[in-house]
């Protein structure tokens, strides 16, 4: 009897382990800001169609977005971003693959705000670099709101800023992440 119960319990654990362990969104918000302080020209954009997948069991988190999905206030700035800087025809996607280093301390099923540290690699403009970020995971009503901020240096990704506009564009960009993840049903 004891063994049967044990066996049934095993099955119960196995099946429950498969549900609710992956969360995703296809409309994550990614922002970037490369405005030079005190400059009259704002250089910022928002991508509202980022893909994000989070595996709560392992802490693996992955992002992907199309460079042409970044929306700017000015159409010409967007054209230059795609044609001259990001070279979106050659490198259409930016991908981040990482892991939440303090995943064990986050209780995804319990409502609350949990600080999170992410470490991983970002591939952009054909270059792959290590990225570390700090953020929050807010669990509410079965959904996860993740937000994070980090900086990237354009030169790291071989994005060339010509001398002519060197004082109009910052050398580092502030990246902000804001995604609402829902459970992935297989």
């Amino acid at each position: 009897m004891k063994k049967t119960i044990f066996f049934l319990a095993m099955i119960a654990i196995v099946t429950s382990a498969y549900s609710q362990d992956k969360y995703f969104t296809k409309s994550g918000k990614l922002g970037f800001d490369a405005t030079v302080p005190k400059s009259p020209e704002n250089i910022d954009a928002v991508n509202k169609a980022a893909l994000c997948v989070l595996d709560t069991k392992t802490g693996d988190v992955q992002f992907s977005c199309l460079m042409k999905g970044f929306e700017f206030d000015r159409a010409l700035m967007m054209e230059h971003f795609n044609e001259n800087y990001a070279e979106s025809d050659k490198y259409p996607k930016t991908v981040f693959k990482g892991v939440i280093t303090n995943n064990a301390s986050i209780n995804y099923t319990k409502d609350g705000t949990y600080p999170a540290k992410v470490k991983g690699q970002m591939t952009m403009h054909g270059e792959t670099k290590d990225v570390e970020a700090v953020g929050n995971i807010i669990s509410k009503a079965g959904k996860l709101q993740i937000s994070a901020n980090f900086n990237i240096v354009f030169a790291d990704y071989k994005i060339v800023i010509p001398q002519l506009v060197a004082d109009k564009l910052a050398k580092t960009a502030k990246i902000s992440v804001d995604c609402l993840l829902e459970p992935l049903k297989k």
Partner: protein, 298 residues
Amino acid sequence: MKQLLLNGFAILLLSTISLKSIAQEVDLLDLVEDKTPKKEIVKNAFKSIRVINGHSMEFLSPGTMDFRILHRFGTLNQGTKNFFGLDQASMRLGFDFGILQNLQIGVGRSTFKKELDGYIKYAPIRQSTGAHAFPATIAFVGGMTMNTMDFADPTITNYFSSRLAYYFQTIIGRKFSEGLTLQLSPTMVHNNLVPLSTQPNDVYSLGLGGRLKMSKRMAFTWDYYYLINGIEDDVNYNPLSIGVDIETGGHVFQLHVSNAVGMNERAFITETTSSWENFDIRMGFNLSRIFQIKKHKK
């Protein structure tokens, strides 16, 4: 034995759990990515909405305005007397507006004959890649010019309609690669009034324009119109312009050499009275600055 079997089965179950999670660690994105190919309009075939003189296959983004200042100097073969033509200048001021992704309008005024001009440009099909790809952009341009100078002979009956000319053009262009764009523009210019009865009111021509991109911000361009009818020996010639486009942030500078002094279709197609053979060529530049009139909602 039973105990062993049960334990063994439990271990097997446990191991399948861990195996499954390892297998999916590799690419989570694959689970949600939308792999259907999407249609993408090809952009930036030319850096500007004009090749040099003629319209290009490129459209302004909706809500933007292109402020254009065109300059044509005097002919180079005048030597130092007129500083190789720099002492004389002909100018056109123009404003072009992007209405939709494939609809554009523009107005301008040239000092040459004090001519006003306006046009509408529309592309029913644009070059695209991905789903439902199309190999070229096909655009139609309809324009009108109006000469606003005083009539040469005020004593005779002068008609207002004599001031007007019209042009219709089809642009078929293709961006072959990041480095090469070519376009064909069959054009018809209708002059309401021509100087001599031997000259046709309707002039048909074929425009050949293209660009060779040298670097991210610099390109070599050429703009040629071959007149099918309407050429009179030693009176008028086919206009040919060759130049360099330089893009700097919000401005595009087009520096070129041409035999045409006119800057609207009627003038440079039907009234180019200088020829390359006689070295009656002139330097010129187009200066273009894009302004965002209507902001994108982010």
